[in-house]
């Protein structure tokens, strides 16, 4: 499925869009990490929590659990929270 990548993570993917597969959000992120080693830990901490300033949307709705089921035609959007400075 299509995964949109925020600018902060394009040092891994080199593009704003990546293709990854998996039946859950956790599986998709694991596949992303296989393709782009290190990218997952920048988004998900060692206790399997989405980091404080990372937001993940699926088909426009925010997802908070890595166990969220996904379908092959879903669109995953990873964004940085609107904070900075």
């Amino acid at each position: 499925m299509k995964v949109l990548i925020p600018s902060a993570l394009r040092s891994y993917t080199e593009h704003g869009e990546a293709e990854a597969s998996g039946a859950t959000l956790a599986a998709v992120l694991a596949d992303l990490d296989r393709l782009y080693p290190g990218i997952r830990f920048r988004m998900i901490d060692e206790q399997e929590r989405i980091r404080r300033h990372i937001r993940i949307f699926v088909n426009g709705g925010q997802v908070r659990e890595l166990s969220q089921p996904l379908a092959t035609n879903d669109e995953v959007v990873i964004v940085q929270a609107l904070s900075g400075g």
């Binding site: 080693p37 920048r42 998900i44 060692e46 206790q47 980091r51 300033h53 990372i54 400075g85």
Partner: protein, 397 residues
Amino acid sequence: MARNSKIPAVRKQSRTTRAQPKRRVVVLVATRKGAWLYHGDAASKTWRADGPHFLGHVISHLMLDPRDRRTLLAAAKTGHLGPTVFRSTDLGRSWKEAARPPAFAKVADGTAGRAVDHTFWLTPGPASEPDVWYAGTSPQGLFRSTDGGVTWEPFSIINDDPQFREWMGTVQDGTPDGPKLHSIIVDPRDPAHMYIAMSGGGVHESMDGGQTWKTLLKGLDVVEGFGFDASKPTFHDPHCVRICPSDPERLYQQNHCGIYRLDRPSDTWLRIGKNMPKRVGDIGFPMVVHPRDADSAWVFPMDGTSVWPRTSPDGKPAVYGTRNGGKTWQRLDAGLPEKQAWWTVKRQAMTADAANPVGLYFGTTSGELWMSRDAERRWACIAQHLPEIYAVEAAEL
């Protein structure tokens, strides 16, 4: 406390050692928005800036491996992304991310586990262990790499020991940008002999490579007094602890409550900051020791009164140095602004090189990098307009 019999005898004939031939110095500057390398000429008079590296990244510490003089490790995170460590084996020309950055062990589902917010402190292992590095994190954690910083594992019992966890407290008990484990010191004579410090959580010593630890708190005052039990690490906030390379039996400490010296095998710190001028006080963050003279050390005093502004007292910045183990202190401010300079220097942002005469360096949170190349006599600004400086290290190439 008796000295560990495994530790070889100290070079007691003198507290000083000879200077090595002059090498070019590189000053490693870690800031809230990236990292810079300043390459000095042979006389350390002019400096070439190399950077920014990792523009926009929060770089807590940038260290050169003194064992190969080529490998750099950078402790990094960004405002949005989790922490990591970058590694360069060509002095910063190229960087590669650690395959497994420092991270706490995963706890069972349903229990509250800790996550590393940022790696704060990097310490290369001793010459006898060429690929070993140690890292201290926020919240307080101790990690070790045995492959030059590529992969990291939790080290020693500290991270998950219930007693240590109690002493560490919560995020609210630590420094404003997170409680930290820092001042990881490996005895150059015995890699199993280590010291660590935690803000908060006190100073601890291990004689067995981190399997067990003893508190090292005697003589230290506790935060605000108020009758707290000074034997409890919870109430202690060591800001920076340094071991003297020329005499590893001597340590200096800049603590929340003053400046201290410890001469082993004694386990009682002596508050040498009481010999500082009363109008200046002995509060600050960094502690710097001389590379060859254990009687010489430097501090950067800051205002610790009222709401703890932690800026240069009266807006008149100065380094203070001692040449006699803290019995007396000299004000070293030639070349620095004489007034209206409200500087803060963080605990990792002041250091010395190993040249002769020794060069001193510090960076301010207002983004200025200063040095004294002539054994304390005069300060000169190397760089200004940098982001908030978190750490300054001087390495020889």
